[in-house]
Symmetry: C2
Amino acid sequence: MKQKLKIVKIGGNVINDKNALISFLSDFAKMSGLKILVHGGGKRASEMISELGLKPKMINGRRVTDESTLEIVTMVYAGLLNKNITAELQKNNCNAIGLSGADANTILAHKRIVKEVDYGFAGDVDAVNADIIKVLVNNDLTPVFCAITHDGNGQLLNTNADTIAAKLAKGISKYFEVELIYCFEKLGVLADVNDEATLIEKIDFISLSFFKKEKIIVEGMLPKIENCFDALQSGVAKVIIGKPEVIIDDNLKHTTLTL
Amino acid sequence: MKQKLKIVKIGGNVINDKNALISFLSDFAKMSGLKILVHGGGKRASEMISELGLKPKMINGRRVTDESTLEIVTMVYAGLLNKNITAELQKNNCNAIGLSGADANTILAHKRIVKEVDYGFAGDVDAVNADIIKVLVNNDLTPVFCAITHDGNGQLLNTNADTIAAKLAKGISKYFEVELIYCFEKLGVLADVNDEATLIEKIDFISLSFFKKEKIIVEGMLPKIENCFDALQSGVAKVIIGKPEVIIDDNLKHTTLTL
């Protein structure tokens, strides 16, 4: 039987608030069993871009990564955030090891092909090195991934953290029974984004097509959920979407996705 | 019998010159056997401090690390440099894994005690976690250390890269026959720093006291060499000081330190 492993993804809402981050990391350290953390970038990279007199460039809600932007996100995501998160987890007796996709060749990607938009040094994930991740977690280490990958040819690439979490989950599901937990600011998937009473507690493949048809799940949330179902279809056992506290509070409502 | 392992330390002269760095990393990747790379920071951190409108503060040739400086060196050393070096080694088929001392709790330090000078968030190394480093190298990984450590209580610390190399060498010598190689801009220890013909090819404990008494080895070089002898006395097999090319060119002259 496969060992259970949880992959938790946190984004800007936790990263940007120092107290929220410290509290989350204390909770994460308490989670029993094998685990991996994936963190997004938050607003520190955009602040740094402004401090250096440059301008953050976004198209369709995605960052365009020119050469200076890549330098800055590499510094902020792989340096400042990743190492401070790792040190904080160590303080909480969680033996964290901060990684980019270049480290131990864990995540290989390619520079996004230019179609209508040139996203610059944005990476689309090709492969996850499950073998070395298995070695790390079996030696009681907790990998902490930032959203930087590489192309195997010396080029670092800025990569969406949600995607990294899903690809990692898929990639290591050959060795582990993986539960993928996306933490964000809401209770879960809401039929009305402004009303937590409209939480959809369970979504399966059949209800998803209904929610899509009725346009209950739209825009920003839809690609995320389709990513999750892709992960489920590739062997990931379970996907949860909820508030950060969901990682230690079994009674906190959330959305569970299953096939 | 212990396995052989080489620890190579590079500093500013290699880091600051993109072509020199790429050439060095190609050589380093070719080195056979177990190996670890330790890299200094170079001038990029000072440039970044200036670009952000701050001023690098040095006392006695050592950087004073206030809170913003610590942020910047963490970004530049652990992010920008460490991940680009790692990606470049991956390109050269060397399975590098970039690490700070916080990662896998590899290097524990304490904030330097304030005597005459307050160096701020500068770290003095207390312990090296040889067990986890052994796991990594025995799984064909090549650790690449930047000069950032942690105190185990959530605080990152800026640490001298020469010291990190020496402490790593000492710490893992219980498992490995360690050769420590310091790469810098000269052929080795020179009696006259401006004349490579005055290279001192071998220094042992007896000749060291002679060179000290005669003031042939002074100032900047003396603490480095005393660090090296400390490492030798703690079980490190051999220490070499030379140009970066010394790692693959057996015929290149250099200084060898032995007890």
